[in-house]
């Protein structure tokens, strides 16, 4: 008999556990949904990290996804949640496609700084655009699903459930993707571009495709965040937002497609409680938490499961 893929099983369990958890803990719905949205962005970032590229500007696509959702609702009255999510993906991926022609030429610190520069350009533009609310941003109306309201105070669980399904399907797709030729090429490009080129594959083309996928995921995450929070502002493109995604990526580890969502949730919980109990020094708590993870689990939180599994099988 063919053995069931453990990641597949874990994904199903995680989906069910989240749906039950959200039902039992309605006060946590906001935090859970937000983690899923940000987890999607981090999942895209992990794809780049596996390839040896650090994008310090995923906030660009995250913000674009969020503003696409906000603008469609504000100026065109489009509120269908599926259409809005698709728009987030479309905007994120098409902008990544255009920038990718330039980005794919750069590596290491130059890649990181260029991505940072692009996100700060968007930030600068939004801050000066009065029609989009300048620094204050604007509110995003709760979306609808097939004409029925979803999200907002009253229908928070429905939006959360949808976020769970979206995250589940995305993680499933990415898990499949990692087994494709292009997916397997990531660590190879990180290790040795010369060998990849001398096998007859184009590194630049591969990186371009990966950058577009990461952009699409960040756009999707941004769209989801906009609907969850109900408000958007230029800070979504600010460098601290992008830095936070890298922070969560390190916290999560590159071990599995579930890791970014777990890391994102842990991060949001730590931040929420740190903010609640020490409003002036919460960054210190968050920083210490990351330090502990780096010292004790250098491969990220996800490696805890690896340790447990090995102990279990031993």
């Amino acid at each position: 008999m063919k053995r069931l893929d453990p990641t597949l099983l874990a994904l199903f369990v995680a989906l069910l556990a989240l749906l039950v958890l959200g039902f039992l803990l309605p006060k946590w719905l906001f935090l859970l949904t937000l983690s899923l949205g940000k987890g999607l962005v981090v999942l895209g970032l992990l794809l780049l990290l596996r390839t040896g590229l650090v994008s310090f500007g995923q906030g660009l696509f995250y913000c674009l996804g969020a503003y696409a959702v906000g603008s469609l609702g504000q100026f065109f009255g489009i509120k269908d949640v599926l259409l809005l999510l698709l728009t987030g993906v479309a905007v994120g991926s098409s902008v990544a496609f255009l920038l990718g022609f330039l980005m794919a030429k750069y590596r290491e610190i130059f890649f990181a700084m260029l991505s940072l520069a692009f996100s700060m350009i968007l930030y600068g533009l939004l801050v000066r655009t009065a029609a989009l609310g300048s620094t204050d941003g604007f509110n995003v109306a709760p979306p609808t699903l097939f004409g029925r309201p979803i999200g907002g105070e009253a229908h928070q669980y429905a939006l959360f459930a949808l976020a769970c399904v979206v995250a589940f399907l995305t993680a499933l797709m990415m898990h499949t993707y990692f087994k494709t030729v292009l997916g397997r090429l990531s660590p190879a490009i990180r290790d040795n571009e010369i060998r990849v080129e001398y096998m007859g594959a184009s590194v630049r083309h591969a990186i371009h495709v990966k950058y577009v996928i990461a952009g699409a995921l960040a756009g999707l995450g941004g769209a989801l965040t906009a609907m969850t929070v109900g408000h958007i502002d230029p800070d979504l493109a600010y460098w601290t937002t992008s830095g936070e995604f890298i922070f969560v990526a390190i916290l999560s580890g590159t071990g599995s497609v579930i890791a970014p969502f777990l890391g994102s949730l842990v991060f949001e919980i730590i931040r929420t409680y740190a903010y609640q109990y020490s409003p002036n020094t919460w960054q210190l708590v968050v920083g210490s938490a990351l330090l502990l993870v780096i010292v004790f689990f250098p491969a990220g939180l996800w490696s805890v499961f690896g340790h447990l599994r090995r102990r279990g099988s031993a």
Binding site: T180, L185, M199, G200
Partner: protein, 268 residues
């Protein structure tokens, strides 16, 4: 016979240093050519120009009748020339099996032009699914016992072999080896060359190899080309070239004397 590779009048300068000056070489298919010369004689420069890493200042290179002078390395690879490196170019953080899987994945990508193919897909040149083809390659190159070792920790001889295995994975028509036995212990050298040459012979691959060890050169090549200061000093059958007084003086030095003694020992 029409030559598979035809290089005419290749010149290359690096500042004041002339690495190649009017190099013309044509190679018949299905042969094994040894390239010899001291360091800086222009062997590797020639190899780098043929594989597209360097563009010659003058001259042109034709492969199977097609002008490849200005092509990018990956385009040349797709036309059928693949190479190994003096310092093995591997995916160090991946296991030996994963290295081969990535290589075969690229082969699959090149033939089907698809990034999205997965492991059950049949690799065209092999006629088996990707994973099966990968296991077959491990057996063929004697790498099975290193299957799950990371490339970073492999002994140098195994790294060389894996590097060459990955070059051969694309089923090239011409294989270029840059010092396949450098940095490898003497007893391992012949093992590596035997494995590689038998794999190349069974697939009818034309082999060009750069080598400093004259014993290896005389045993495996059908033709030897001696380089000296960016020019070709001698070109012909191994015995003829290695016996040439200029070659003995400028290229081989004391090695040939040692070689003839060792040959006598083997015969005895």
């Amino acid at each position: 016979m029409t030559p598979i590779l035809n290089a005419q009048g290749l010149c290359k300068k690096f500042g004041a240093v002339t690495a190649a000056w009017g190099i013309s070489i044509s190679v018949e298919p299905d042969t094994v050519v040894g390239l010899i010369g001291t360091n800086g004689a222009g062997k590797t420069t020639f190899v780098n120009m043929v594989t597209g890493y360097l563009k010659p200042d003058a001259g042109n290179i034709h492969f199977k009748g097609q002008d490849v002078t200005a092509l990018h390395p990956r385009q040349i690879t797709r036309l059928g020339i693949c190479r190994s490196f003096q310092i093995p170019q591997l995916y160090d953080s991946l296991t030996v099996l994963e290295n081969v899987v990535v290589a075969l994945g690229i082969v699959l990508h090149n033939s089907k032009r698809s990034w999205w193919a997965r492991s059950p897909k049949i690799v065209p040149a092999y006629g088996t699914p990707l994973m099966v083809a990968a296991e077959m390659m491990l057996d063929r190159f004697g790498l099975r016992s290193y299957r799950t070792s990371r490339a970073r920790v492999l002994p140098e001889g195994v790294r060389k072999l894996l590097d060459i295995a990955m070059a051969l994975a694309v089923k090239p028509e011409m294989l270029i080896l840059d010092e396949p036995t450098s940095g490898v212990s003497t007893d391992e050298k012949f093992g590596i060359m035997d494995t590689v040459m038998s794999a190349a012979r069974s697939e009818g691959v034309t082999v060009l190899f750069v080598e400093h060890d004259m014993e290896i050169v005389s045993r495996y090549s059908k033709r030897v080309i001696a380089f000296y200061e960016g020019r070709i000093l001698a070109d012909g059958a191994p015995a003829h070239v290695l016996g040439d007084p200029d070659v003995r003086k400028y290229v081989v030095g004391g090695q040939v004397a040692a070689l003839s003694t060792s040959k006598e020992t083997t015969r005895a």
